[in-house]
């Protein structure tokens, strides 16, 4: 019984959302607003149990690590975000978390630039690796803004555009595929789990 009701609710809400395809209507709006509320409400107890209890309550009140009162006070400053005169206080917790950006500079230089560079330096041993090399270099130069795209240089950077277009085509194909997969997933749910038409 419970299972049937559960599926009924899920299917109804699914249909409410699909009804938007026909036109904007109260059912869709209801479902949309419900979604916003439930998803926010869902996070609250989880954060309480998985973050507040182990990192604030337990260390301070049970283990007696009173140093942690300072960061929890900093955390409370978030709430001032919505006051008119004291909203600047909320910058403190943000600033404390933002400090890790210092790790980001060398780390992203390391893994997004240097490692990619190494991979772009592989020996050319066949036509494909040659194409990849030309493509990579021409695209890098295409995004080099200090020289106008003219003459031979302009023609070379133009190769970069074609490479990118083929690359975007691949993205395009994949995106179309992904969107359709999602729809298939939903239809499989309605036809299979609820109506039992797929076995």
């Amino acid at each position: 019984m419970l299972e049937f009701i559960s599926n009924l609710v899920a299917v109804l809400l699914t249909l409410f959302i699909f009804s938007f395809l026909y036109k904007d209507n109260p059912f869709y709006r209801f479902a949309e607003h419900l979604l916003v509320g439930v998803s926010m409400g869902y996070a609250i107890p989880l954060v309480y149990i998985n973050a507040f209890i182990p990192f604030v309550y337990r260390p301070i009140f049970l283990e007696g690590n009173f140093w942690l009162i300072i960061p929890s006070c900093i955390g409370i400053l978030y709430i001032f975000r919505f006051t008119r005169n004291l909203s600047w206080l909320s910058r403190y917790p943000i600033a404390f978390g933002m400090g890790i950006v210092g790790m980001g500079v060398p780390m992203s230089m390391h893994s997004s630039v240097l490692v990619q560079m190494r991979n772009a330096m592989l020996p050319i041993d066949n036509i494909n690796t040659l194409l990849i090399f030309i493509g990579t270099v021409s695209i890098l130069l295409y995004f080099y803004f200090s020289k106008p795209h003219k003459g031979l240089y302009g023609k070379f950077t133009n190769i970069g555009i074609w490479f990118m277009m083929v690359g975007f085509g691949a993205s395009f194909g994949y995106t179309v595929m992904a969107r359709i997969s999602l729809l298939i997933g939903r239809v499989q749910f309605i036809l299979g789990d609820f109506l039992g038409l797929i076995k």
Partner: protein, 991 residues
């Protein structure tokens, strides 16, 4: 019927309430009796050390929709505590006809997250009380300690050393005993084990999917008993003829708890029948012992048979001393063990059976008889030394925080892993290989020589850049399924000398491809069957213990030596008044050097409390006096024992008094400093390891490698002064100060920072060039077109927050567009999704109007907030496009899946559309539906291009020049690596 909006709203809220309450209405009442668990049984865990029970019951039918069974335990049938649960999957239920719950080993007792006080379990109970977990309340859990359970407390070492409270207690004999008292929050956790030979009661409660707790089953009880160990697997016994050495190899027990030692015995084959009788009798004796525990009236069984086998090897076992290799020398036809000499002629070894036994506390468990197999030293596994000086080396791993030692052995090795035919004709073969090296050798290049079945060379490949694959083209007309032989030689730094690896590829019918054979030859010796075992010990271990096993193709191991030191101590007493759990304040420091190399001597211990440490000495002194006097007065036959004991006490005293660490500690007057000193010394003792290795075929043919000694190793650090050998044979991981693999990143970061800095400075004074970007130039035309048509412009600054780079870029383009629009007096509409972006967008438009000299035409509602919901926002934007008939649409910023919905509508209304985003997945949709698209970085460039602000321009320029440098490096690196010069590519990190 026409419903207006208000009624609709109420309707909607009503539906919501009904939807929410449905699940609660739907639970039907059930008969609780159907939900009581049946067939509840408790039995002893076999072959364990006496700390485990198994609870079992019949699962309820699937239709009852049970989601968990909760198990309760107590020392009487009326008061039981929750100890754990078994989860059930609703769809499948439980397949078997019983559910098992193991109450064995160390399971949680109490910790900080236990409930504060005693709480009764949900559901209706009759006369029995079920409680939830043991609470933190000491009044409840205190009496359970020791009395009902063996409790182990685990916590941070510093709590034990520096924050314990001294508690004095009077024993029953009227002596005072000193403990260290710790609060519950000083433990990380407390674990408990059952007492052997004590009765425990269990019950089970079923919980259904609505979390309804049903009545418990009638409790069942059981008593954990100590059993003899499991039967050992077969022993491997080998006699090395030229060395006159017996070698043994065995397997570790699954359940180490009841095992006291590993022993090897010899039995003359003619005595087999007697031995069987002895074994059978021992089995009966064990049964008799258990029976006597149940019923004290049963008489003890008499011993009739003696063990005809004699022990030739023994090693102590505990959880921490895993050992699987042992050897015994036969010297002049005699085997000596434990003071006994057995004369065994090497030629007669075949007349004996070899038996391995796990030594139990009372009864041993015996393996099957093993025959000796003979070999010679030359046939034992050949160890390829890492260099001419040593077989293997141990070093501190560099670039870590000081928690790893690196053990390196052997020379680099290449193995073929897989092959694939890459064309239909099967004439092209892709061979994957893997190479493993260690810190001693750097691989420069690998030479593969491929021979066909007939033995003629097909191809020679030099791998300068090792990408783990080579391609071989088989000669025209060659059988693609023929076996191939691959000869591999490496060029390394330093030179490897004579070193050739051979591996064959044979056709596999199942995979229908050439597969590498298991056999792997190094200089003609097949190494594939040999494994490496690493043994290690620190200054507190008695013997070496097994650390890790490696296959034949490993060459290096990073041994983790954790920084965090915990204490784990038995908790038997408690102090209710002070709310303290009491533990033993005496702790061990290290072991003295033993008489033999194999085994260290006795443990040096001392006490947290100085008074107790001193008392320990005076106690021994008093005992010596007491027993010396006693020795004169008692009977002659006991006298020797007493005198021996006195000798033992004397040497114990001497050891304590002469110990340099204890002496140094005694001189430190400050108590805190004394403990810090002792704790540090203890840490060194625990974290400095010596290593030895064994290479074996797992069948007793093994070669032991000696302890690694670094002849040049020294230790100038005075912290290690009390320990001989740190740096030469004991290795203590050090904390390092620079990560060299991040060095390129450091250089690049500095270069980048420098470039940005210089360019910003330059941008302040000169006008920097940025090439024209197609989409930007069309902006003015597009605005012009809207003016001509007299329709408004739409500008969407992305859907992301202000923290996104794309949003910032979009907003600065908005400034430019708004200014132009103000000049032409064209209306601009700017819908915003993020309420923090809203005021900024308003500000920008307002400023643009002022700059254009048209403050009068500024409309505060040009920028407006629609909603935060993604799709609702898009619906709103689409509505604007259709109603206002916008002539030009700009989309600049971060977009997600919704982008397409907007641009599709826009192209339907015939507007000119210009987009710019760094969201790679959305760019293709923009390109196909918009007239102009700024791709990725062009968006950032456009914002700097239009803003002309030195900070932005400077950073962009810095980025630009770094990009140029990167491009140059990529070109140079590729050319060089194509020409087999790999130094540049190898200068860059690979992960």
């Amino acid at each position: 019927m026409k419903v207006n909006l208000n009624q609709k709203g109420i309707l909607v809220v009503l539906t919501l309430i009904i939807a929410f309450s449905l699940p609660y209405l739907s639970f039907a009442k059930a008969n609780p009796a159907d939900y009581i668990v049946q067939n509840l049984k408790v039995s002893d865990v076999p072959e364990d050390g006496g700390g485990g029970l198994i609870v079992s019951w019949a699962p309820l039918p699937k239709e009852r929709r049970i989601i968990e069974y909760r198990v309760y335990r107590g020392v009487n049938a009326d008061t039981l505590f929750y100890i754990g649960k078994i989860d059930v999957n609703l769809k499948t239920g439980i397949a078997g006809d019983s559910v098992f719950f193991y109450d064995s080993g160390w399971l949680g007792f109490v910790d900080l997250e236990s409930p504060a006080r005693l709480k009764e379990e949900k559901g209706k109970r009759s006369d029995r009380t079920l409680y939830r977990e043991f609470p933190r309340d000491m009044r409840v859990n205190g009496p359970e300690l020791n009395e009902n359970y063996v409790v182990l407390g685990i916590g941070q070492e510093k709590e034990y050393f520096h924050h314990a409270e001294k508690v004095e207690r009077e024993t029953d004999e009227g002596e005072s005993e000193v403990y260290s008292g710790l609060r519950l929050n000083q433990f990380d956790a407390m674990y408990k084990q059952l007492h052997a030979d004590k009765e425990y009661f269990y019950t089970v409660v079923a919980v259904d999917e609505a979390r309804h707790y049903y009545p418990e089953a009638e409790p069942a009880s059981g008593i954990p008993r100590e059993n003899s160990p499991e039967k050992p697997k077969d022993l491997m016994a080998v006699f090395v003829e030229d060395a006159n050495r017996l070698q043994f190899e065995w397997k570790l027990p699954v359940e180490p708890d009841p095992v006291n030692g590993y022993t090897v015995w010899m039995l003359a084959k003619e005595d087999e029948a007697d031995f069987e009788l002895y074994k059978a009798e021992q089995k009966l004796k064990e049964k008799n012992k258990l029976a006597r525990l149940e019923d004290s009236e049963i008489a003890e069984m008499e011993t009739v048979y003696q063990n005809p086998a004699f022990q030739i090897f023994g090693a102590e076992s505990s959880v921490y001393t895993d050992l699987i290799h042992g050897s015994v020398d036969i010297i002049d036809g005699v085997i000596s063990y434990n003071g006994n000499d057995y004369s065994v002629a090497p030629a007669d070894l075949e007349d004996y059976d070899f038996i391995f036994a796990f030594e139990g506390r009372e009864f041993n468990s015996w393996s099957n008889y093993a025959e000796i197999s003979r070999t010679t030293s030359a046939d034992l596994p050949f160890v390829q030394p890492i260099n001419e000086n040593t077989v293997f080396i141990v070093t501190d791993r560099i670039e870590d925080k000081g928690d790893y030692n690196t053990i390196s052995w052997g020379k680099p090795i290449v193995t073929l892993t897989n092959t694939t035919y890459t064309n239909e004709k099967r004439s092209k073969l892709l061979i994957n290989y893997e190479y493993v090296t260690n810190k001693e050798y750097k691989v420069k290049k690998i030479l593969f020589k491929i021979y066909d079945e007939a033995g003629s060379l097909i191809k020679e490949i030099n791998e300068y850049y090792q990408d783990n694959q080579i391609t071989v083209k088989l000669p025209e007309g060659a059988d693609p399924h023929q076996s191939l032989r691959v000869e591999i030689t490496l060029t390394c730094k330093p030179d490897l000398g004579d070193y050739v690896i051979l591996q064959d590829l044979k056709f596999n019918d199942f995979t229908r491809a050439l597969a590498p054979t298991k056999e792997l030859y190094i200089n003609g010796i097949d190494v594939s069957q040999y494994n490496y075992y690493i043994y290690k010990r620190n200054y507190t271990d008695k013997v070496f213990r097994l650390s890790k096993k490696f296959g034949p193709t490993q060459r290096e191991y990073n041994d983790n030596i954790s920084h965090t030191n915990n204490f784990s101590l038995l908790v038997g007493e408690y102090d209710l008044e002070k709310n303290l759990y009491l533990v033993n304040p005496s702790f061990s420091l290290y072991r003295e050097e033993g008489e033999t190399e194999v085994q260290r001597g006795s443990m040096i211990s001392t006490n947290i409390w100085r008074s107790e440490a001193d008392k320990q000495i005076t106690d021994i002194q008093q005992n010596i006096e007491k027993y010396t006097i006693m020795a004169d007065t008692i009977a002659v036959e006991d006298k020797e024992n007493v005198l021996n004991y006195v000798e033992q006490l004397k040497s114990q005293l001497a050891a304590i008094e002469s110990d340099p660490i204890l002496a140094q500690a005694a001189q430190i007057t400050d108590d805190k400093k004394r403990l810090t000193f002792l704790r540090n010394q203890r840490n060194i003792a625990k974290r400095a390891f010596e290593y030895r290795m064994v290479l074996t075929d797992d069948k007793g043919h093994f070669t032991s490698m000696d302890i690694y000694v670094n002849p040049e190793g020294t230790n100038e650090d005075e912290r290690y002064a009390f320990f001989g050998g740190v740096g030469t044979n004991h290795f203590y991981p050090r904390s390092n100060w620079f990560k060299w693999n991040m060095f390129p990143a450091l250089l690049a970061t500095l270069l980048f920072g420098g470039l940005v800095f210089v360019m910003i400075k330059k941008a302040r004074t000169t006008d920097l060039y940025i090439r024209p970007i197609a989409g930007i130039q069309e902006i003015d035309n597009a605005i012009g077109r809207a003016t001509e048509m007299g329709r408004p412009i739409l500008f969407v600054p992305g859907l992301s927050s202000i923290g996104d780079v794309a949003t910032l870029a979009g907003l600065s383009i908005l400034g430019r567009v708004a200014k132009k629009a103000a000049e032409y007096d064209t209306k601009i509409l700017c819908p915003v999704r993020d309420y923090i972006v809203l005021p900024i967008a308003q500000e920008i438009i307002k400023e643009a109007h002022y700059e254009a000299g048209r403050p009068d035409s500024y409309d505060k509602n040009s920028a407006f907030f629609i909603t935060t919901a993604q799709f609702a926002f898009v619906a709103g934007v689409n509505g604007i496009m259709l109603r206002e008939k916008t002539a030009t649409n700009f989309y600049m910023g971060m977009f997600w899946a919704e982008a397409l919905i907007m641009t599709e509508t826009g192209s339907g209304t015939g507007a000119i559309q210009i987009a710019g985003t760094d969201a790679v997945t959305q760019i293709p949709f923009f390109i196909t539906t918009c007239d102009y698209t700024l791709i990725g970085e062009e968006l950032y460039a456009a914002s700097a291009y239009l803003a002309r602000e030195p900070l932005m321009l400077g950073t962009l320029k810095g980025q630009d020049y770094l990009k140029l440098i990167i491009t140059i490096f990529i070109i140079a690196g590729t050319l060089l690596s194509t020409l087999h010069l790999t130094f540049l590519i190898n200068a860059f990190p690979d992960k």
